[in-house]
Amino acid sequence: MSFLKKAAVAGFGACLIATFTGAASAQQFPVRPVQVVVPYAAGGGTDLSARIMADTIEKYLGQTMVVRNQPGGGGSIGTSVVLHSRADGYTLGMGAQGPLAMLPHYGGIDYSLDEVEFLALMGRNLMVIASCRGAPFGNAEEFLTHAKANPGAIRVGNSGAGGANHIAMEGFASAADIKVRSMPFQGSSAAVTACVGGHIDAVVASPAEVLPQVQAGNIKPVLVMEESRIEQFPDMPTAIEAGVDFTWSSWKGIIAPKGLPEDVRLKLADALEKTFQDETFIQRMNELGEFIDYRPGPAYEELARRDSGIAETVIRDLGMYGMNK
């Protein structure tokens, strides 16, 4: 038998086996690695979370999970890829607040919340306002008084124009009936750096992003947009305690395109639930500064729809609604 013939026979055999296992797969999803699309570049918070998840979920899913980064367009490119992929459970995505609840309001986005199958909420990034080096205020009360006395004077750094932190700050300002000057930086790290350097007056970021600088005494925590006080800063009041009825956090979970087969959806939701309650997973995520808040699909969807509604109001007020249509 020549080499070519051997190769042909082997190839044909492989095809047969593939067809056979393919038929069997209906009963036992997943038969091949599951892919999770991260709509941001490798190395960011969402990416590392996905990688820690992929590392843990294997034992609950019985298959490896592969992380694929498709960054661009503030997360809309990767999210669109997930929502337009085949609904077989093999392509999942990290469903983040920005691309799901905000970007559609700016326009130019080819998906909507109605196309999303929400599988499980992984965690939330709480929003903290901190006062920078040299700022004329150091706590919530002083911040609000100063803002009322000097409308539009407080320069608040955020992670990027129209992003979660920007919208959170503007939403807070409108609830508090104050005016601030939002300054968009290229990412949270740049905003926090400018804050430590005293180039701006305040910054809105996650607790993990400001914690080392607060510990070093460079900046001061002002308030958190959460219902109750948080572990890292027990002395910092919530917005509600400061008299502003506003809560906000940015979140991420696992999404898929609508129309998954029911057994596949159940299997995935179950594996995700176990993963997000796994001790090693939680410990690793905490070390990364991520706040784990597992919620099942329906609760995740509720949160996304609530935030999408609030974001729409804020974005309309800012005059940014539909600007990219």
Partner: protein, 493 residues
């Protein structure tokens, strides 16, 4: 001193082995276009979950240092910047390779990377806490002044001032595509989602330098017989080294300073260093034609950035560039929050990282020097096959970076643009610098204006801002002065 007690564990065989592996892997990642040091570090972070911090972190640092170095290999051999930080190395490295001195150019690049890395590592180990505060001195006005100074390079870099300016302006214009940094509105995307974040940088560079050269080579092959390249030696001659010492030291210094400033990185450092080397040289006209100091300047600067970008990260918890931002994630997963507390709480980690940086730099040098003969084998591939392979790599590399088809259009578009620029004598380097610094200048100008209530005085206050503004004016006047000097010399002759 108990520093010694912290250093000894780093020399354990498994630590050395992991650093060696990381550095070697980094060199390969860096040399392949489309895989950058940032991606290498990010993709391998999960591997460090189970490792002891000293092992895991030093492996990542090895990848970082190897990755930034590795970029020069493809830049020199096939004019394809393996990482954006080696784009400036193309200018003299590739012409050297074309003259048959690929081995020596790589040797010089390796030595320069080693010197740059070593000098910055010494600064890191001795002056980190003192220098870190420089990172905080940079606000919008300072960044804008730095970007402007960098953009002024265009004037002295391109022989023809007018054509250089046109290329630079075109670059600034092209960098406007994508989301507006202040309002978030999409600009010039024509509704194509793929361009929502603007032209991706790496695909643009691959097109600009590599694909355009492929077109040039194809044209050459049609018209003339291609002779095989000879490769002679890997150690630069004593004369080369003597000529390049100044450029190398200056590059190491520039790289160290730029590395500390957050938000800038090895790309910016290598361009500024290249320009300073050219300005200080007695024979500036040789730059761009295959001149050893050109390679020494860029490669010493970009590898100096590696160690010095760790300075603000470790001392302040503020990453000095993109790769160290990813490294920060790696540290935090180990339960180590970088910042001033880390120096007090975990001196073993700090010293371990310092030592690891030195060791990785040494490994980089050894692997680099040993590998040169292997790397240069690429050039013995017949030119027609090599050219086609480069095209394939251009496509794979551009797509692999974001898995975005729009990036392929970017690469092709910049390839065609680069070809015509080369043909009609417009500087591709000027366009490249503008692509790096245009967005930095724009967003910081606007942030500065926002912060100062539209008062331009902000951009002329503060020692750093004023220094860069003065340097900008000087570097714009420099070529005029040289022209004038040359003319008077001609007249008196």
């Amino acid at each position: 001193m108990d520093v010694l007690q912290y250093i000894i564990p780093v020399f354990a065989p498994e630590v050395l082995w992991v650093i060696a592996l990381g550095t070697l892997g980094g060199i390969v990642i860096g040399a392949l276009p489309g895989l950058t040091a940032t991606m290498g570090v990010a993709l391998l972070i999960p591997l460090t979950f189970g490792m002891a911090p000293i092992l895991g972190l030093n492996m990542l640092i090895g990848i970082y240092i190897g990755g930034i170095y590795g970029g020069c290999i493809s830049s020199i051999l096939v004019r394809t910047p393996g990482t954006p930080s080696s784009a400036a190395t193309v200018l003299d490295g590739y012409p050297l390779a074309q003259k048959g001195m690929a081995g020596k150019a790589l040797g010089m690049a390796t030595i320069a990377s080693f010197v740059g890395g070593l000098i910055a590592a010494i600064v890191l180990a001795t002056l980190a806490p003192q220098l870190a505060s420089l990172a905080l001195a940079f606000g919008p006005a300072e960044y804008f002044a730095l970007a402007l100074f960098g953009l002024a390079i265009i004037a002295s870099l391109s022989g023809d001032l007018l054509k250089g300016a046109i290329a630079g302006m075109l670059g600034v214009l092209l960098s406007c595509v994508g989301a507006d940094p202040i309002s978030g509105a999409a600009r010039y995307t024509f509704g194509i989602t793929g361009f929502a974040s603007g032209f991706s940088f790496t695909p643009a560079l691959i097109g600009l330098f590599a694909l355009s050269e492929v077109f040039v080579q194809i044209e050459k092959m049609l018209n003339e017989r291609v002779e095989k390249l000879k490769i002679s030696g890997i150690w630069p001659s004593r004369k080369d080294l003597r000529e390049s010492t100044g450029a190398m030291l200056r590059g190491s210094f520039i790289g160290t300073i730029i590395g500390i400033v957050p938000g800038t990185g090895s790309g910016t450092a290598s361009w500024i260093s290249y320009n300073e080397a050219r300005r200080a040289s007695k024979t500036p006209e040789k730059f761009g034609t295959g001149h050893m100091p050109g390679v020494a300047a860029t490669e010493s600067a970009n590898n100096a950035v590696c160690a010095s970008a760790l300075i603000p990260l470790l001392a302040l918890g503020i990453p000095g560039d993109v790769v160290t931002a990813v490294l920060m994630g790696g540290l935090m997963i180990q339960g180590l929050a970088p910042g001033p507390m880390l120096f007090q709480e975990r001196p073993d980690i700090i010293v371990g990282i310092f030592a690891g940086t030195f060791i990785a730099t040494v490994f980089m040098f050894i692997f680099g020097m040993l590998g040169i003969r292997l790397f240069t084998k690429i050039l013995s591939v017949p030119k027609n096959i090599l050219t086609i392979s480069i095209v394939v790599f251009c496509f794979i590399g551009s797509y692999a970076i974001n898995l975005n088809v729009a990036d392929l259009y970017t690469m092709i578009g910049f390839g065609v643009l680069g070809y015509f620029m080369q043909k009609f004598g417009f500087s591709q380097a000027a366009l490249c610098i503008a692509l790096i610094l245009g967005p930095m200048a724009e967003s910081n100008l606007r942030l500065g204006l926002m912060s100062a209530n539209d008062n331009l005085a902000l951009f002329f206050s503060g020692p750093i801002t004023i220094t860069f503004m003065v340097l900008t004016v000087l570097s714009l006047l420099w070529p005029l002065y040289q022209n004038w000097k040359a003319r008077t010399r001609e007249r008196s002759a």
